[in-house]
């Protein structure tokens, strides 16, 4: 038999298995990547134009020591990462299990649920990174990025922010039986977080109790990390705190996802 040698081959490691699962998403992405890159660059350019030329001129004086545009752009970048995470790890994950049955197809093969999760997460990370990189390029066009090191740091910060949401989101979305529930969470959890995490204004302007809540929100950590890196005001301690918080979310999400994926893919 042609395949006998392959079948008897030593068992592939977890990462190799995850890459097999990821290959599917790459094949699918091959169809659409050009379009998504254009959108990822054009969208922030339009946004930054509107803010810089419009809203920004209405804001008096510098915010946290920067022009409103320079203050706002990295905040929007982090918020966009959250939004992308919701699409990729919320809607896409749910539909991969229920509607498109991508997961069940993969589950019939040697791939284990954990591999299927990891493969998809690697792809989501790639998507988050590319979107963030496109956004940072748009920022550079507006003179908001001083050098390549800052560009890279900010891109990674936004990717980590997205991932901190994507991991727990995927763990939850795979369990959701009715699609509209995702919209509800988007409207009542994601949107408020979007508004109160210092994307549009400095959280220091908030009254003390609200400020305490903002500091607890994961998006604020992403916003502040991206912003201080972009503005060159980052301090080691605070940055490490942000990174630690976001990484912890990734780790907890991954732990839960391993359980929920197994439960939902091997029912």
């Amino acid at each position: 038999m042609m395949l006998a040698d392959w079948r008897d081959a030593p068992r592939a490691g977890g990462l190799a298995m995850a890459f097999r699962a990821m290959a599917y998403w790459l094949v699918r992405y091959r169809r659409t990547w050009r379009g998504t890159i254009v959108v990822s660059v054009a969208n922030p350019i339009l946004f930054l134009l509107a803010i810089g030329a419009g809203l920004g001129t209405l804001v008096e004086g510098p915010v946290e020591g920067a022009s409103y545009l320079a203050f706002f752009a990295p905040g929007l970048l982090a918020a966009a990462a959250l939004q992308n995470a919701f699409v990729e790890a919320g809607f896409v994950v749910n539909s991969a299990l229920r509607r498109e049955r991508i997961y069940s197809t993969a589950a019939a093969t040697p791939l284990e649920p954990g591999h299927i999760f990891a493969g998809h997460l690697i792809f989501i990370t790639l998507r988050l990174f590319l979107s963030a990189a496109a956004f940072v390029m748009a920022m550079a066009l507006f003179g908001l990025i001083e050098n390549i090191a800052i560009a890279l740091a900010v891109t990674l910060a936004a990717t980590l922010t997205g991932l901190a949401f994507a991991t727990p989101l995927a763990a939850w979305a795979v369990t959701v039986a009715d699609f509209p529930q995702l919209n509800t969470v988007f409207r009542f959890v994601v949107m408020p977080m979007y508004l109160f995490s210092g994307t549009f204004f400095s959280v220091t302007q908030l009254p003390a109790p609200l400020r305490a809540i903002a500091y607890a929100l994961p998006l604020w950590h992403g916003v502040d990390l991206s912003r201080t890196l972009a503005l060159g005001t980052a301090t080691l301690g605070t940055s490490l705190l942000h990174i630690g918080y976001l990484t912890a979310l990734c780790a907890i999400g991954a732990m839960i996802a391993r359980i929920t994926y197994r439960r939902c893919l091997h029912e």
Binding site: M2, W6, Y24, R101
Partner: protein
Amino acid sequence: MARLNPLILATGLEKTYPARDRKGAPFRAVAGVDFQVHRGEAFGFLGPNGAGKSSTMRMLGGVSAPTAGSLRILGLDPVADGRRVRARLGVVPQDDSLDTQLTVEENLVVYGLYFGLSRRAVKARAGELLEFARLEDKAGERVEHLSGGMRRRLTIARALINEPEILLLDEPTTGLDPQARHVLWDRLFRLKQDGVTLILTTHYMDEAEQLCDRLVVMDKGLIADEGSPRELIERHVTREVLELRFPPGENEEVARKVGDHVEVLPDRLLWYADDGEQALAQATEAGVRPLTALVRRASLEDVFLRLTGRSLTD
């Protein structure tokens, strides 16, 4: 030898699904079944909707853990050794789970990569399988644009990418036109000849008679009986069947009049008899006046109705 070492051995196999929400109750879809499948056999599951066929198939496919009983596949435990078991299985699920956005070939390639085949091997294998499924000229076409029959053929081709030893087919020909079904049967026949063990579920009795060496009839999560199509016919039904039709609502009444060798279906009565004509004469004598009467040879369908029919009229 083969008799001693079945390829698949299920004993007291059960599947209870947990309650969907707090108000619901757990549901036992498979309620303790025993069966064995030997290498090279074609083994069928027959049963009405909800009998637990797909639930059993998913356990066989190593993607659903039994909640009680034991299951060995290829000498392995499909839960603890799921990965190794699945590497040697081909699975055709009840609903096509093809990726409609990808092309026919991409669907095969991705699936082959899941099994760890190299890109080169998978391309070559995809070519062979497209030919096998008569889809050579559709390789670059998106699955969206395929007909139902083509999709089914592609799903079967995909299940063969890893040259499986066991092929699990959940209703392989449901929704296909007669020609497409015959093409599929021919393909399955060839696989069987190549030594692939076939396990299938079906609602088509002719399919079961054509393809299966042995089959079980399932009902409400249990096995009602097991045997070759011929054995089952001999065991459960007479040589001939008299089919009688009456105006709506009269079936039960007539049935009471003529005795317990009749099966009441929603639209007709089946009267089991070794001599159908004689039974008809008897019925006429008893004053039964059917709208239509038909005598035919007994088939697997009658076995099915005998073993599970009463649940249809519930």
